[in-house]
């Protein structure tokens, strides 16, 4: 006989399939409703249930059962409203009555493709394992034969150079009465070079970030430069720059990015006659470590009035940059042209360099740039880099780890004797587990001249919830519960730009001290130990062999 209510419930999901399961405690909950109001994905709802309730209220136990209608908080089993584990509910709960638990058994990816659309998200590669960078140790410790330096007392120069550096043989120098002078007769072009702090803030656009977040980063960077004397630079990402900043003296702390959509460049070009300072550099984005082969993507819901104005587009339309520059015909010709055009636009006073995603073909790009005297650097973004929006498959499966990629590129430059001429910038997963200075130092000693951070600074300066268990990672939706990657004033007013700026300053000051604590015991202080691979070891023989460093266990 057919039952009154169906028992099989086929094609309905159990909570066991979900990545996060909400633990809600009836006895603690006072039904204030804050959690359900704050949930950015509406994964929990207030609802009512009919239940058998046993009560005993007198001085002597007198249990009485009754059926009652009670209010509960319930997790929905709709995969489109899956709990992302962000924990905003726990944050607002006055009674610690609710929290999400990660469910290792989840089958989330099996179902997250409704409507034939692959899962899209923000964040970075979901891989909580220890990265290669975190396995690298600094093992060449100066002792008695070579006294260590004192990180607190000695003078350190934790600085790097951004820009094409002439080989010593080509310096336009003449000897005059025992002194070297820059020869005026030789019309040698000396490329622009900036001395910067070796950790820079990587490209995150106005638009991808909320106004207070971008403003907070920018204020922090300006403070670091102007007050702390720490020359930290920040890349704008594709999407332009607030017009007031373009015309301000603070522009010199910013690297302007041009990418395949050229968003924001109309505004930049129009501001050029009014610029009082040159930017720190120009980054031409050809690829991104988190989503190699994809262009930038700003979802329509984030294209509000200010963003539309800066980018020169209508409001509320998806802004997807093409996967490649449409003018690109070949690396020899069009990349060189683009580098030259950008150099020329700024009177050859600004370093111009490309950024690519980590790839097996990085060396081919590198060798091409090595032959181009106007190429100021090469930035390589590894697979652990972050993004505001991409397909999960791109983030999790596409790309190349940064460690071996940067190492082989550096060794290639060494073979050509150009290791000091073309700086390499490494990015992608720097500080993934919080070890910012150690990761940066490891990359520098593998051969990078500088490193870029993105996700790390969002986590550390603005408390981004994201992690490698796919926590939150809804940057693409414009519903960032922290107000970092949203254009919704109701959300971004949660973020105080001054606090972000303060944190940025703290983070870089701490990193500066920690870098000294790494370099001092290794006896290095005057110049950055770029390529000082004898200082490194790793606990895996195959990795040691690949990176050409020693194995230690």
């Amino acid at each position: 006989m057919e039952p009154a209510a169906r028992l099989d419930h086929n094609h309905q999901l159990t909570l066991k399939e979900f990545p996060y399961i909400i633990r809600w405690r009836d006895d603690r909950c006072k039904r204030c409703g804050r959690c359900t109001a704050v949930c950015p994905v509406k994964a929990i709802v207030p609802t009512v249930k009919v239940q058998r309730v046993v009560r005993s209220e007198g001085p002597v136990p007198t249990p009485q059962a009754s059926r009652a209608i009670i209010q509960v908080v319930e997790q929905v089993t709709d995969m489109e409203r899956h709990c992302t584990g962000c924990g905003a509910c726990s944050l607002v709960c006055p009674n610690e009555a609710i929290e999400p638990d990660f469910n290792f058994q989840n089958k989330f990816l099996h179902y997250k493709n409704k409507g034939g659309e692959g899962y899209k998200r923000g964040g970075r590669r979901n891989d909580p394992a220890i990265s290669t960078l975190d396995r690298i140790k600094f093992t060449r410790i100066s002792m008695l034969t070579d006294p260590a330096l004192d990180a607190g007392r000695h003078e350190f120069r934790v600085r790097t150079l951004l820009g094409r550096i002439l080989p010593p043989e080509e310096l336009p120098l003449v000897v005059d009465n025992g002194k070297l002078l820059v020869g005026s007769a030789t019309a040698k072009f000396v490329p622009p070079v900036r001395e910067i702090f070796p950790i820079m803030i990587g490209s995150m656009s106005v638009g991808a970030l909320s106004p207070p977040m971008w403003e907070g980063l920018a204020m922090g960077v300006a403070y670091l430069n102007e007050v702390e004397g720490l020359p930290v630079v920040m890349c704008t990402g594709e999407g332009g720059v607030p017009p007031r900043l373009l015309k301000s003296r603070f522009l010199k702390y910013f690297i302007l990015q041009i990418a395949s959509g050229y968003f924001g460049w109309d505004e930049i070009i129009h501001a050029m006659p009014h610029m009082v300072e040159d930017p720190a550099g120009i980054e031409i984005k050809y690829g991104q470590g988190a989503k190699p082969g994809d262009g930038g993507l700003l979802m329509a819901q984030k294209v509000l009035k200010l963003i539309a104005k800066i980018r020169g587009v209508p409001q509320f339309v998806d802004l997807s940059s093409p996967p490649t520059h449409q003018t690109k015909y070949s690396i020899e010709e069009s990349v060189a042209k683009m580098i030259q055009s950008m150099s020329m636009a700024f009177g050859f006073r600004v370093p111009v360099y490309p950024k690519i995603s980590g790839t097996k073909t990085a060396r081919a790009v590198l060798n091409n740039l090595a032959r181009n005297p106007f190429a100021a650097a090469l930035s390589i973004d590894g697979e652990d880099g972050g993004t505001g929006a991409a397909y999960n498959v791109s983030m999790d499966k596409m790309g190349h780890p940064i460690a071996s990629n940067i190492r082989e590129c550096y060794l290639d430059l060494v073979k050509q004797g150009k290791q000091n001429e073309l700086p390499l910038i490494a990015a992608g997963g720097v500080g993934k587990k919080g070890n910012l200075a150690a990761n940066a130092a490891a990359l520098i000693m593998l051969g990078a001249s500088a490193v870029s951070i993105g996700k790390y600074v969002m986590q550390t300066a603005a408390d981004c919830y994201g992690d490698e268990y796919n926590r939150c990672n809804i940057c693409n939706t414009g519903k960032c519960p922290r107000g970092i990657t949203t254009q919704d004033p109701k959300l971004y007013r949660r973020l105080d730009p001054d606090t972000v700026a303060e944190r940025v300053v703290e983070v870089f000051k701490a990193a500066d001290v920690e870098l000294r604590k790494v370099f001092a015991p290794m006896g290095r202080s005057t110049e950055l130990p770029i390529g000082m691979s004898d200082g490194l070891s790793i606990d895996d023989k195959a990795m040691a062999e690949r990176l050409e460093i020693s194995y230690a266990c």
């Binding site: 150079l161 010593p168 310096l171 000897v175 002194k179 070297l180 110049e527």
Partner: protein, 377 residues
């Protein structure tokens, strides 16, 4: 930490003077080796000033390799000096120690000095590679008016072993290093002083920046930048690269290995050049702890330090004889009758240059770029 002793003089002096100075600093070396390089030679070499001298060691088998190779290249043997070796306890004698004077191959007789220097260097390197595997042949220097001796053992014993106390070999410039073996195996090619095309240096202390410097030098495409059995060999090659290859005045050696800070550079007249040098030669910056003592092809001697850890070093003497030592007691041994109050203890910004035949001592200050000249009487 190794001990270093150098004496430069108007009169020819015996290398024993340097060995005796090393002996006074004995606490600092463990007798694991002695290296001596002499320049501006007297005695039996005085008549051969223009001809290159090959210094080295070989086995019985190695002599044949040597003769055959030099014949093949067209070098003509003019004169041979071999120390009269006295067997000593604790010194394992090798078959044949030599300093051989050659005449250039005919095709090189009228070639410019630079070509000749390149030929001498490539010849030395080819000899090195012929004998390196079976240690049948070591070639330390091949250059006019320069002799190098190296062996494992206690310096004083080695002086006697080589018969330097009796021999008439003399020179105006003598550099000696008493080795304190640390992290490298005792190997003759790791023994200071190091020599390349007229430039010679010896160093004490480890070089923490060794690997990036080695990579930079080796990628210059210059065949002489090889070896590096010791991390100190790069100091010689940096000097050679700076002065000979790039043509910088010798004081810029200091600016290359210990560049000034940005704010300090502004105080120098040549700031524009210094800024470019600091960028382009960034990988050659050292972090110490090192004191470098050496000579340049013109016969000037110098002493320079790293900028932070400051290994000790002292320069003192009288007009016509100056000593550059890693310790003051070495000065007392080499030039006892001097005005001690005018001894120079160079600090982080200093480079001491003693001009040929010890006529003048110049103290060059990196911060200001000026020179203070002194000459004692």
């Amino acid at each position: 930490m190794c001990r270093l002793a150098a004496v430069t003089s108007q009169e020819y002096l015996s290398p024993m003077e340097v060995i005796l100075a090393l002996e006074t600093m004995k606490e600092g070396h463990d007798g694991s080796g002695l290296g001596i390089t002499m320049k501006d030679l007297g005695g039996e070499f005085e008549d051969f000033k223009k001809y290159p001298i090959l210094s080295g060691i070989c086995s019985k088998k190695g002599v044949y390799t040597l003769d055959e190779h030099m014949d093949k290249l067209g070098f003509k043997l003019l004169h041979v000096w071999a120390p009269k070796v006295k067997q000593m306890k604790g010194v394992k004698a090798r078959d044949y120690y030599f300093a051989r004077v050659y005449d250039y191959p005919d095709s090189y007789k009228y070639r410019p000095q630079k070509d000749k220097e390149d030929l001498l260097m490539t010849t030395r390197l080819s000899l090195r590679s012929l004998g390196e595997r079976d240690e049948s042949l070591f070639a330390f220097s091949f250059y006019p008016d320069v002799i190098t001796l190296k062996e494992v053992g206690d310096p004083l014993q080695l002086g006697e072993f080589f018969g330097l106390d009796k021999d008439l070999v003399k020179a105006r410039v003598v550099l000696g290093q008493g080795r304190q073996n640390t992290n490298y195996a005792i190997y003759l090619y790791a023994c200071h002083p190091f020599f390349i095309q007229g430039f010679c240096t010896m160093t004490n202390g480890e070089n923490t920046a060794f690997v990036p410097i080695r990579e930079f030098l080796m990628s210059r495409g210059f065949p002489g930048y090889v070896g590096y059995n010791s991390d100190s060999e790069v100091f010689t090659h940096i000097l050679h690269y700076t002065a000979r290859q790039l043509g910088f005045p010798v004081t810029y050696y200091k600016d290359v290995i210990t560049p000034l800070k940005g704010s300090e550079i502004e105080r120098r007249d040549d700031r524009a050049a210094l800024k470019l040098i600091r960028q382009s030669l960034r990988p050659l910056c050292i972090d110490g702890p090192n004191v470098v003592i050496g000579f340049t092809p013109d016969g000037a001697c110098f002493m320079v330090h790293d900028a932070k850890k400051l290994r000790p070093g002292a320069v003192g003497g009288v007009n016509g004889k100056y000593a550059l030592m890693s310790e003051e007691c070495g000065l007392d041994s080499a030039v006892p009758k001097r005005d001690k109050s005018s001894d120079i203890f160079p600090m982080k910004y200093d480079m001491v240059i003693v001009t040929p035949q010890a006529k003048e001592v110049r103290l060059w200050n990196q911060l200001h770029g000026w020179t203070t000249t002194t000459s004692s009487h």
